[in-house]
Symmetry: C2
Subunit: 428 residues, 2 copies
Amino acid sequence: MNLTEQMTQLAKQAKAASRELAKLTTAEKNACLLAMATALEQNADTIKQANALDMEFGAKHGLSAAMLDRLKLDDKRISGMARGLREVAALPDPVGKVLDERVRPNGLKLQKISTPIGVVVIIYESRPNVTADAASLCFKSGNATILRGGKEALNSNLLIAQTMIDAGKKTLAHFPEHAIQVVPTTDREAVPILLSLTQYVDLCMPRGGESLIRAVADCSKVPVIKHYKGVCHVFVDADADLKMAEEIALNAKVQRPAVCNAMETLLVDKTVAEKFLPVIGEKIFEKHVEIRADDLSREILSSKLSIGNSKLKPVAEQDYFTEYGDYILNVRVVDGVQAAIDHINFYGSAHSDSIVTRNEVHAKKFLAEVDSATVYWNASTRFTDGGEFGMGAEIGISTDKIGARGPMGLEELTSYKWLGIGNGQIRA
Amino acid sequence: MNLTEQMTQLAKQAKAASRELAKLTTAEKNACLLAMATALEQNADTIKQANALDMEFGAKHGLSAAMLDRLKLDDKRISGMARGLREVAALPDPVGKVLDERVRPNGLKLQKISTPIGVVVIIYESRPNVTADAASLCFKSGNATILRGGKEALNSNLLIAQTMIDAGKKTLAHFPEHAIQVVPTTDREAVPILLSLTQYVDLCMPRGGESLIRAVADCSKVPVIKHYKGVCHVFVDADADLKMAEEIALNAKVQRPAVCNAMETLLVDKTVAEKFLPVIGEKIFEKHVEIRADDLSREILSSKLSIGNSKLKPVAEQDYFTEYGDYILNVRVVDGVQAAIDHINFYGSAHSDSIVTRNEVHAKKFLAEVDSATVYWNASTRFTDGGEFGMGAEIGISTDKIGARGPMGLEELTSYKWLGIGNGQIRA
């Protein structure tokens, strides 16, 4: 079987499995998820052995210490996967919800009902725990998954998926065994082939760095829900409570700088810049963050700061487009809320942006006109997260506008259909 | 300016216009739409002159009589466009609706709000009235449109759009003049260039034949909502009211065979085939429909039919995949509801399918397992239509699962954003 045949078989099997999956009851799905969780824990040793092969391969092929750490599965991480599965089992079933209902003048009753999407391809990088997380969320929402992890994690991913499938089959005689599949080859050509099979694959969700996502989006013929990057902003308005602004800005930058909802650029209204910048600058420098400042804020910071400013640098325009995911912050002084909105809509990534202000008019303008998935008023950008949104779990954060936008939980893994229930209606 | 620069300018202007459009109030949008309607009527003569150039070009380039008829604009069709605009003005604004609302334990209030999508490219074939219809629906939903009609309709399309823009500008000083743009060239290369500009274009909706849609989907880097074809089915169950089945099947096939929600294949349960097929066969033949029948139904039809059967032919497998849009019907006898579902999910186009039955178990199985945008129980497939669904107007019917599915009205032309309203919340 050549690669095209192999991928076609995988996709075809997934489509068939998705039809069976859609018929499972909530109780059946939850029983499977709980059994899968137990099986992951019970097979921890075998999973660690498979993972050891991956670690060895990774070490041989020069993976960095950080990458090896992400690849590693230990008991704690395997328990974490199992806990994740149990949490997904406890969440409400997103399928079969009546989203809309109407009776037409001719008596035809229309119902808009949430349904699974069908076959979802997930493409991700090194962490093998994504295999269990993504597969469980897709399974609960009635979708068959085809998982494509990093080549360095193939053994771990295959074994995690197999463990879940085996547990499902033991739990349920009619468990569709192709509900969860891992692409069994590391051939790079597998992805474009898989993503050309529009008759079988309904959606692709790449998770990882921007280049991975762009490469996937570039080759895919099936719809892709993307999360390119998080270039998030906090705007400190002229009418901000400056103490609140300080706390929000600090939290958005340093609480966890590596994540996508961390702030990359702080925008400060010019009327409060002289007062606010030295205060926040000091706090930011205390946390060893480098500041890349525009001329005005650099002038204020360098003249007013009592502490050393070796970490104060001039900003370049390209920096405003950059997701650092690191202890680096752009600072820019802007002339009013409109200038802040324009900056964000031009340089931002439509992920998460916040205004700090007591002024309701400014706040409402900002909330309405910033064209991002999540827009905050007097809160940290760090809340953009399925868990924080009460979705229970998250498969990603979409910066797209078609399909899901923002944090994606179980509901965001569904589509819908219309049912038309009549008693013989025909069209005149 | 070369073509790439020209398309980039178009897309960039549309993006800027979309930001302004998003700020317009419902009253402002409606006033513009009403003024546009009046302007189309007042400029009917100029529009007909532009259309005459297109008709001349079309005749010279060998357009068929049917195509020329579709291209032609007369007073009646221009009034029709104006009436359409007035209807859109009367519809509720789909933007700014609160779709979900929750307060988190930390007091952060989350609101999910409907928003415009942004920039929508519409690609369509000869009918120039689509220009006004599509532009008005996009305008009302706050989206900037870039319209690409058939090359034979360029003069008509440009003038319709210009008339609408001029009326908008007269009505509203801050009307964004690039809210509605027609691609000003017939160069075929314009489309792939436009659809590569993911930083400006948010969605593409091709409307037309399957080959047009495939070509667009193939080249597009922006999300595409597709309506490939309508291969719709009526399944006459073992427990059907056969009189009702007759009326529904006849309506689904002959009331308007050229449209996408017309039936292409009639599936009949084997237990009622002997009784039902001769009755429906006679009615169908009376309407001059050719029947392509499988062996069993051909045997029944040829032996039991009292009228001539020169229009009775054997079906080929490929026929089951085919959207005829014509006086041709496939007929197949199937063994039970599961076989009907399997046939539809395999050969159908996930558009509209109906079961006729008194048996609730069969009906519920069919509604649940047929994986189509709209599934009916005891009603004609012909109801899949924005107007019939109470959406007021329709920009298309999606057979996709990401974004809108089924009839697309104003609501289906929106995305959403999350607003997070706090009083200083930071993440711990």
